[in-house]
Structures are given as structure tokens and as C-alpha cells.
Symmetry: C2
Subunit: 349 residues, 2 copies
């Protein structure tokens, strides 16, 4: 590697599938990072509850991956996150811990600690943005640090960066979104004859859903994403608790099958509007109903978003209605969002 590359040191908290995908991408992009961006990205710390890795001189992402083969913990004993962050001397905290139950206290603490230590932050953990955005934004302003979080809402699909970098001067008036792919998958499987429990088990076997699926099924995942997007892009000042949720458990199989028989798709649509408050009833604004589940016909832009697809209709003042969607919302896409966020931070330093 050329000596004139700028070195960027990362400390990773969380080392699951997304962190591994991110490291894999960093390793594959190593040449491009140097050639196109003048960057050498090194890992100086990584930690989970099961283990850690501390390397203040920095190791490549590939070396970090090799230190913890899939399924194995990181090689050193666990360290408290604050100690690890401090000792890592990193420039950027990459916060990839799993979302906590409520209020995201630990992940929010990691982010605030990083700011205090002079680090910028990239996170794919929606908890802090959904529950504590104003507090985090205030802390970032007070410490002069920055945070990016593209992968919190749509697994790497540009939504925050779309609004920030391309829809300049547009005011986001509201949005309608399909935010959760696990429920998409279950709904489509039910439409094709599988009972709820069978469809759910299939998503778990395939690794789409968590072992405890209630986060997806009962609307909390979508509510967190809605709160994160509304908080950042509309200064909503809400939490996921403020978003009216509907559980997929309460949607009768008959309703799903009838929609498909009529050539429609049933989707869980989450809508937030500036003036109309916050609810989880896409139908309220679009179809006159009041249900989280909405029957969408072929002319509705969210109808095609089944299985692992996600998307949002952004209602703006200057550019009208803009749709952005991804047709594969999987780990590589989430990892890409983290990678893109890191580049945004580095390009504007």
C-alpha cells in the first residue's frame, strides 16, 4: 500500500452477520478504497459480549475476520465497550450491536462515548435513532462529531442520503413505506396456502426472522424504522411507542387470500405525515381505511415489494412523490449501507 493513503481506524461494536459482511466488503474494496478515495481502512478494535479484539496499530478487515471464524467469538476476553473504544484509538465507531428491547440504552451509550472520545459514528442499529435521536443529535452538535445510519431503515438502500444529497431543499411532507421483509415473506407464503405458524417457521429456518419473532410480527421493527426516518427527516421527535402498530397475527388468513384472489397484494404499510400525526395505517391516507394492513392493487408503487423487498414513497414539496425501493434487503445490502456511510464521513472530513 502506498504511504500517501490516509488511514482511517475503526472500532466495531457487535460482530455478527452485518459486521462480518461489512468486513468482507472492506476487504474486497481495499484496492478501490486506496485508488478512488485515498483511504486505508484498518480495524483497531472489535467487541461483543463474548469476546474482543484490540489492535491499536490496526489490522485489515480480512485479518479481523480471520481472527474470529464464523460462529467463534473474537479471540480475546470481552472488554467493557468504553475501555475498548478508548484503547482502540479509533477514528470511527461502527456500532453494529443487536437492537435492544426498549430505549436502546447500551447502544446510545456507545455512541455518546464515541462522541466524547472524538470519534464519528456509523451505525446500523435503529434503536438509538428511533428512541433517542434528539439527544444524540444534540450530543453530536456539542462535541462537533457526526453520525450516519443509512442501514437503520432499509438495509442500505439510500433513503437518508437520498434526501440529504439528491433531494436538496425538498421538504419531506410524509411517507408510506413497506419497512419489514419478514412480514412480507410470511404474508406471501400465507397467500400461497401456508398457515401463519408454518410460514413463520420457514422465515426462522431461513434466517430471515429472529428466534423471537415478535419484533417483526407485532410491528415494532416497522415502528422503529418509521420513528427513525420521521425523527431525522421530519424532526418528528417521536419514539416507536408513538407509532400505532398492527400485529400480523391479527390479520386473518382469509383477508390475505381474498386480496390475492382479487389480484391485489396485502402489505403492512407504515405511514407518517407531518400534519396528520403518526400512525401505522397506510390505508388511512391512501385508501380511506384505518388498518396497518392494506390491500394494494397493481397500480400502487408498494404492491410489488414482496419477500425481501422494501421501499418507501417519499412525499416532498418540490419533487412530488419519489419512490425508492430495494429488491433484495439482505445482509450484503445492509453491509453496503455501512460502507457507504463510512465513505460519506471520510469524503467530507
Amino acid at each position: 500500500m502506498s504511504a500517501d493513503l490516509r488511514t482511517v481506524k475503526l472500532c466495531l461494536l457487535g460482530f455478527g452477520a452485518v459486521a462480518r459482511g461489512f468486513c468482507d466488503l472492506l476487504e474486497r474494496q481495499q484496492d478501490a478504497l486506496g485508488r478512488k478515495h485515498g483511504l486505508r481502512v484498518l480495524i483497531t478494535g472489535a467487541g461483543t459480549r463474548r469476546g474482543s479484539l484490540l489492535a491499536p496499530e490496526g489490522v485489515t478487515a480480512g485479518a479481523a475476520l480471520a481472527a474470529a471464524p464464523k460462529g467463534a467469538p473474537l479471540p480475546e476476553p470481552p472488554r467493557p465497550p468504553r475501555d475498548l473504544l478508548t484503547a482502540s484509538g479509533a477514528d470511527v465507531l461502527v456500532e453494529l450491536t443487536v437492537m435492544e428491547e426498549d430505549y436502546a440504552p447500551a447502544a446510545t451509550g456507545h455512541i455518546e462515548t464515541a462522541f466524547d472520545l472524538g470519534m464519528d459514528v456509523v451505525t446500523a442499529n435503529k434503536g438509538p435513532i428511533a428512541w433517542n435521536w434528539r439527544r444524540i443529535a444534540a450530543k453530536a452538535a456539542a462535541t462537533g462529531r457526526r453520525i450516519r445510519f443509512e442501514s437503520t431503515v432499509m438495509d442500505g438502500l439510500p433513503v437518508f442520503s437520498l434526501l440529504e444529497f439528491t433531494l436538496v431543499d425538498c421538504r419531506l411532507l410524509g411517507f408510506d413505506a413497506v419497512f419489514n421483509s419478514t412480514t412480507n415473506f410470511i404474508i406471501d407464503a400465507m397467500a400461497h396456502g401456508a398457515p401463519f405458524d408454518t410460514a413463520l417457521k420457514h422465515t426462522q429456518d431461513e434466517g430471515f426472522a429472529e428466534a423471537d419473532p415478535s419484533h417483526d410480527i407485532d410491528g415494532w421493527d416497522a415502528a422503529c424504522k418509521a420513528a427513525a426516518l420521521a425523527n431525522v427527516a421530519m424532526d418528528a421527535g417521536i419514539t416507536p411507542a408513538d407509532v400505532e402498530k398492527q400485529s400480523l397475527r391479527d390479520v386473518p388468513l382469509e383477508r390475505i387470500r381474498r386480496a390475492y384472489a382479487e389480484g391485489k397484494r396485502l402489505r403492512l404499510v407504515t405511514s407518517v405525515w407531518r400534519d396528520g400525526g403518526v400512525d401505522d395505517d397506510g390505508t388511512a391516507d391512501m385508501d380511506g381505511g384505518a388498518d396497518g394492513a392494506a390491500e394494494l392493487d397493481i397500480d400502487h408503487p408498494l404492491a410489488p415489494l414482496g419477500e425481501e423487498s422494501l421501499g418507501v414513497v417519499l412525499h416532498t414539496d418540490l419533487m412530488g412523490d419519489v419512490v425508492v425501493a430495494e429488491l433484495g434487503a439482505l445482509v450484503p445490502q445492509t453491509a453496503y449501507g455501512v460502507y457507504a456511510d463510512l465513505l460519506h464521513l471520510c469524503r467530507t472530513t
Copy 2:
């Protein structure tokens, strides 16, 4: 206005609906331009074949609009574009002339003249990008100038800026797009019973289509947009003549009605792939057919794009398939794209 604003002087070539919409937007955004971007945007020249306006000291966009009430020519006699550009002393040429028949010689000349005069360029005229991209890019590089052209492809929808600013490091492998809203409108009207000629006349009466509709109907508009996107984002080095076109005149009414009766939508899909050459047969890559017109079912992301909607599926290496679409492809959106391009130029000066 505060004296510490940076003044940006524009010379407009073309003063039709898009130019007027752009001036209207500039006028409405005057406060935001100053407050958020530190800019004062003034018009120092405007010209059409019927008239001109020369104001080297600069007038507001509102004053420029007032000088030529809708339907009336600009108040001064026409000037040759080179003379007007030179005398205007503008920082940026805003090229909004109507697309020429072939090869876009006049508009390309305007752009090259502007580069020679030290101006950057924003254009909504797809001709130069579709026909002469490599020549223009080489001239920009040689003169150290910049050009932006978001509104050439999807009426202001972020496509070029999406790729440039948000999908960083992604390689565009190919795309499938619904590029032309006039044909969408005609197809949907035919599906509901209108004969082709009646549907076409309606689009003309509503101002969607040109008086000579062959540009839309015979696939040239879509081919120009495909060439522009492929040239810029994939370095394709093609012209619209290289894109296989199908005329809507050759799509039987029966086929459209059958698609709708089967719960599908008929769309003219233009596809370009890096490895598979260039054609206008979305079905070839997606459905195994070989037709510009494609029957799309409810699970296809381009199916909902009827009437004035446009959209594209971008196939990328790092982020998979990303869909971006606009649900109203109208003059205000086109004008917004020009406005956003201007801001991109000013923000990175």
C-alpha cells in the same frame, strides 16, 4: 439581500415551460437560496429564436419572467447564442432548448461555447448527452468545466445524482426503465377502450405529447434517455440509433387489453446491460421475450408506473437492484432537477 451572498449569474438558452418553471422555482426559493446556501442567483441573459434578454448586471428570475409574459417572446431581438453567452458574462449556462432531430448539433455547440467561455452548464436537453457525451466530457475535462443534466432522463428524479452521491462505489451493471410517460398514458387509455388515435389526441390536448408525437410514440425519446444514462453511468459510448426501438403503433390494441384483462400492465421497457449489448426489450432479460412492450404482473416493480410516472430498476454490483421512480413526471419536477443541478454545481465550487 445581504451583501455577503455569493452571486451566481445564469444565462438561459430556451425559455419555454421548463425554463419558466425553473425561474418560478428560483423566485420562490430566493430566501432559501440565501439562507441555506449563501447564494443570490441572477439572470444575466436569456435567449430563444424569437427574442432575447440581456442584463449583464443581473435581474431576478421573477423579473425575467415578467419581461416575457407566457406566450410572448423575450423583449429584445434574437441574438446569436454565442453573442448572448459572451455578453451575459454568466457563470452557468442553463441549456433548456428543445431537443433537435438528430445529433443535437446546436445544443452541443451551446455547451461547448459555454465551456470555452469558462462557464459550467446545467441542461435538461437530452440530445447532447445522448448523442455526444464523450465529446462533451472530453471538452469539459479540457476546459476544467462541469456539466450536470439530471432532468434529461427522468424529469428531475435523482438518477445521475443517486448513482454519484448515494450509491458510492457501486458499478451499474444494467437497467430496466419506463422512460416515456406519453406512451404510458396512451397505453392506459387504450386499455380502457380508447383507440390509439383518440388516446394520442388526448395527450396532445393535455399538453403531454408534442404536436409531432413520433418522438414519443416511436421510441426515440426512450432511446435518447437510455443512451444518456448508459453513456454517463456505464461509459457505453452509444447513440440513440444504437438502441433497438419499438413503436407503440406496432403494439396491437388486443395485446394491451389482454394484458389488463389478465391483471397485468403493458409497459414499454427499455433495458441496457453491460454484457448483453443494448436493446429495447425489457422482456429479453426479465421474461425471456424479445419485445419493447412487456406484460408486467403485480410483482414487477415497473408495473405501477402508468400515466405520468417514470422509473428505473438499477442493477448494481454492491447494492443489488435499486428502484427509483417518480409518480408525477411533470414540468415542476423537470424544473426541480435543473434547480438541484445548479445547487450541486454551486455547493462544490
